[in-house]
Amino acid sequence: MAKAWRWFHQLGSPKYLFQKTGQWLPWIWAVTLILLAVGLYYSLWASPIEARQGQGHTVRIMYIHVPAAALSMVAYVAMAIAAIIGLVWKMKMAFAVTRAIAPVGAAMTFLALFTGSVWGKPTWGTWWEWDARMTSELLLLFLYLGYIALHASFSDRTKADKAGAVLAIVGVINIPIIYFSVKWWNTLHQGYSVTAKGALAPEFQTPLFIMLGATYLLFAALVIMRLRAEIILRNQKARWVEEWATQRSHNGGQS
């Protein structure tokens, strides 16, 4: 326990975090690409088409839509947790994590909305419906954009970090609303079926789970890349950054 705790504190050091993530990053990318390749092959090529409900190939949108929607919520929760860590333990790197997540989460939310719209047209006959799931997901996108806008409008970075963190925490109230919206309101969007037993045949479920894993890893990889850029940005004047930068230019852009 004490060891884990010390490790947690070490992560608060920009230099340590930068070096560690630098070691992890190639592995994460490698696994991500493999999983993505396998997942996309299965989901776009090898998996059966939906014949019973006459959806044909449109069912393949699911393999992008469901992971993107799941990630959009998970990313927000992660953002709020990082914000809480930053405010409570005064860990500056946690704010960097929050800021690193925001645009990626916003992109996921947009992707979920967009693919949902594309999927909705052939199946429900409409691009958009003011249904509880979609409306709350749209609000999530606004919350992400609000965070980004708020953070960008301060000239003082510490103030921007703290104010953004408060907003991220306040906005978390929307997450259970999105998650339970299909249960609380009877609207157009279908209920839970991914994890429900027997709702999804295994030949659909396996590629979906592979894509879910791949998307989680892709998210992690993108966030880590943004985080590393953020660390460099915030520690421009630190000696180790200077050393890292000169070494990097010395090696001709390697490492």
């Binding site: 409306t135 609000l139 606004f142 919350l143 954009l145 609000g146 806008a149 708020l150 409008s153 301060f154 000239s155 003082d156 103030k159 921007a160 703290k162 104010a163 408060v166 907003l167 925490i169 306040v170 906005g171 109230i173 929307n174 609303i177």
Partner: protein
């Protein structure tokens, strides 16, 4: 302590009463635009009434947020207030004063707008106006409380005017939905207790969290 702060707020507001009248005027004007734009037909207006009145109320609350902490922040009074008492206390007194000065007049004005929007069309002595007022009584304090959080977050930001709207509107939406649907349910002669209960629940939740959050955010902005 809270009473002293409240008294101060009200005194400041009395000397700047025109600033408080503007959001109210805005409320009336926005609502009276709809008969021009959509149709002056009584049944149509009645159908639109809950949504229109609620949206107008929300926008005018948003407009009045501008004077929430701003002038006190600019002339340094906020810093003194924060030195004098706890941030939560400052936020609480500000919120109460702000609701008394903007939310309450809105509620009092709403029957007039109900008349403008033909809310009682087709029925004599209906309770619709009362339900509208009740939904606003429960809803507008929540808007105030959430607005306080947004306002205190953006105090030190550079482009704050529009920023508040972007931050706060997503949080306002649930209140808007249930506020308007309370009145709609009443118009359709259905039970509206559930909606009112949810509005009350929103109010209680924000009442517990918002003053504290707003206080924290004030410390961030000022400190």
């Amino acid at each position: 302590m809270i009473l002293t702060l409240l008294r101060r707020e009200l005194k400041v507001a009395r000397r700047n009463w025109i600033g408080l009248a503007i959001p109210l005027l805005f409320f009336i004007i926005v609502v009276s635009l709809f008969p021009f734009a959509v149709s002056p037909d009584a049944p149509v207006l009645q159908k639109l009434a809950p949504g229109v009145i609620w949206v107008a109320a929300l926008l005018s609350m948003l407009l009045s947020l501008e004077q929430f902490y701003r002038s006190d922040y600019q002339d340094g009074a906020l810093e003194q207030l924060l030195l004098m008492s706890s941030p939560t206390m400052v936020a609480t007194s500000k919120i109460i004063a702000h609701w008394l000065l903007t939310g309450l007049p809105l509620v009092i004005l709403s029957p007039l707008l109900g008349v403008l929007m033909q809310i009682n069309h087709g029925v004599e002595h209906s309770a619709h106006t009362w339900i509208l007022m009740l939904s606003l009584v429960l809803g507008t304090p929540t808007l105030c409380l959430l607005g306080a959080v947004g306002m205190s977050l953006t105090l030190a930001a550079s482009r704050n005017g529009l920023l508040v709207s972007i931050l706060i509107i997503p949080l306002y939406v649930p209140v808007l939905i249930f506020g308007a649907s309370t009145v709609t349910a009443s118009l359709e002669n259905m039970s509206y207790n559930g909606e009112l209960a949810i509005l009350g629940a929103f109010l209680l939740i924000t009442l517990v969290f918002a003053p504290f959050t707003s206080g924290r955010a004030l410390k961030i902005s000022v400190g």
